[in-house]
Amino acid sequence: MSDAEEEVMANEYREAAQYDGMDDLDRVPSMGSGGDIQAQLAAAATPLEFQATLETKFASYDNYCNLFHFILNSDGPVDIDVPNSSWAWDVVDEFIYQFNSFCGYRQKVAFKHENGEEIQLLRENPNTWGCYSVLNVLYSLIQRSQISEQLNAVKRGEDAKQYAGEYGSRPLYQMLGYFSVIGLLRVHCLLGDFSLALKTLDDIELNKKSMFPRVMAAQFTTYYYVGFSYMMMRRYADAIRMFSHILVYVSRTKNFQKNAQYDSITKKNDQMYALIMICVAFHPTRLDDTIHTALREKYGEQFNRLQRGGPENLPLFEELFRSACPKFINPTPPDFDNPEINIDPVEHYLGIFMDEVKNTMMSPTVKSYLKLYSTMDLKKLAGFLEVDPEKLRCWLLVNKQRNRQLRWSEGGLLEGDIVHSSDLDYAMEGDLIHVSEAKVGRKLVDWYLRNLARTY
């Protein structure tokens, strides 16, 4: 990242932080609009206790249903004072979090098959925290606020207000709509639909200034799920770009934000370091210095080990994936009659991911040898590696295929061009491997500029 970009980023952040003061949503809630709704609004943005009972979880679901029904289906837009500016984000965030943890809990209860009472209760309420209701809320908030139309107008350089309509022109709806887009990204990713997750963000331009830059947690969530989805689509270069962007942003703006928001993203921060380490193992890249240093500090020897490849790293990949992946959801009620088939979805995704790891784990080793030669005999190299020559031929084909990767350059997140991701290239002519390298030419501009400056 260049200094200029960094400066823009820091300025944006300062601007955003100052803007907080003028924000009319920050008003103290007026008691006039009824204490009841205020209590509901506050509850919707508040996490449940860790030990909350099933009844509490059901009640919380009802609370959300009532609240969203009120916001979406009243006679015209509702006029309520929300507790503070990040309220809208907190509501959408907490809503999805509770959906996520409820599904996980239900799955566990079914798998353990111990608590008859809870099983009974869950059997009787199959539609509570159902995937259709959750998606319905998010899509309705998006449609009501006409946020897609607004974002598209911004993209064309027009005024979003013109397209906002009766609902979307109000900050409450606009914010709920915008954060629902991000919520949808997250839900699709949690359900394992990685391409639809990325498609959801078609209207948002990640490289431009966010509509709500000051809600840091929203940005953070966006980059985590976009990066993760890219990784599962094997677009490692794009995943690295996403993770790096936000991790650099966080490390450079750390000093401005000493609030609860920042604490809550620390865990995700660590997860993203783990993910970026995985991606770099698949796709060796020069990382931003800040990130490189942080990775060395956090992971030390493990960081180098992963990049060397080989089967001995499989447990490490597994451990990293488990610690850094989202808590995947099985969206439908589990099969209470066959407890053992209700496996934690994380295991499923881990299996899919590890297949890919196993498939490519020899690439770094092969590449490290090829780098040393301009031509090499396949049988000789097989001897070095102590492997059957035909096996090596397979590895060479695999590595070559994996060098071709889709990389985003413009447009929607699902777009991209095929690029060669490695500076090492080779081709086989019988048993002879021809190796070539992309070399970086001399950099003259810096030298020229420095000397020019001296002569002035």
Binding site: G192, F194, L196, R393, L397, G441, V445, Y456
Partner: protein, 245 residues
């Protein structure tokens, strides 16, 4: 510019419409998508994004899921390896489909054992293909009658696989021994010569096969040159104006 992931050239308008609207979640569209999968199997066309939408409908409405359609979608995804389509399909299946079979076979009541078995068998094929172990792919495909059943609906499956394998081969290879390529394509004699010569346009030279040079198997060294932007000189230019010499 490559085509975006959600693009399919032969996608009919009514499918496009469903995919872009909320109807993609409507259980009633399941039948439409199922027909579309069948159509892809017959016409040798392919639309991953639409097929994933169907798997998502199954994910939300497990009672509607049809094992045969699921496996057809996965078999179609094999024909476009090494793209991630197969794995993306797996990601939308129930988590027990990849679990070791012994657990579910204890309880036949689970009912899904046949699906799990089929999915895991196909996953073996996927791993062989992505591992570029083409000879093992063909012998595995041949080893079990279940495979023949699974790929039966996909018209031209073997031909499609050969073309795909040939495509990956041409990216990395300029010349290869005939016997090796025969095992990769599972073809011999006249059929082999026809496929390699006419379909691929490669040259058979004794017991060597020569693949014409293309931009991938050329492996030419390049020098990355510095990309100079005018902005880098803005300071110098500005100073030139500020302090006329």
């Amino acid at each position: 510019m490559g085509a975006p992931f959600d693009f399919a050239p032969e996608r009919p308008d009514h499918i496009e419409q469903i995919l872009n609207g909320l109807d993609r979640y409507n259980p009633e569209t399941t039948a439409v998508f199922q027909d579309y999968v069948m159509q892809q199997c017959e016409n040798q066309t392919y639309d991953c994004y639409a097929n994933l939408a169907l798997l998502k409908l199954y994910q939300f409405n497990p009672h509607l899921a049809r094992d045969e359609t699921i496996t057809n979608i996965l078999v179609k995804a094999l024909t476009v390896f090494p793209s991630p389509d197969f794995s993306l399909g797996l990601a939308l299946l129930p988590s027990h489909t990849l679990a070791p079979l012994s657990t579910s076979s204890h309880t036949p009541a689970a009912g899904d054992a046949p699906l799990s078995e089929a999915v895991q068998k196909l996953n073996i094929l996927k791993n062989l293909l992505e591992g570029a172990d083409y000879a093992a792919f063909w012998s595995t495909l041949d080893s079990d009658d279940l495979y023949a059943d699974l790929v039966a609906d996909v018209s031209g499956f073997e031909e499609l696989m050969r073309v795909r394998i040939a495509a990956t081969v041409s990216q990395s290879i300029r010349e290869v021994e005939r016997s090796i390529l025969e095992s990769w394509l599972d073809l011999n004699g006249k059929e082999f010569e026809h496929f390699v010569g006419t379909v691929c346009g490669w040259n058979v030279d004794g017991d060597k096969i020569k693949v014409p040079i293309n931009k991938d198997n050329e492996a030419k060294g390049t020098v990355v040159r510095e990309n100079v932007k005018f902005d880098q000189f803005s300071r110098v230019v500005r100073r030139a104006f500020e302090q006329p010499a």
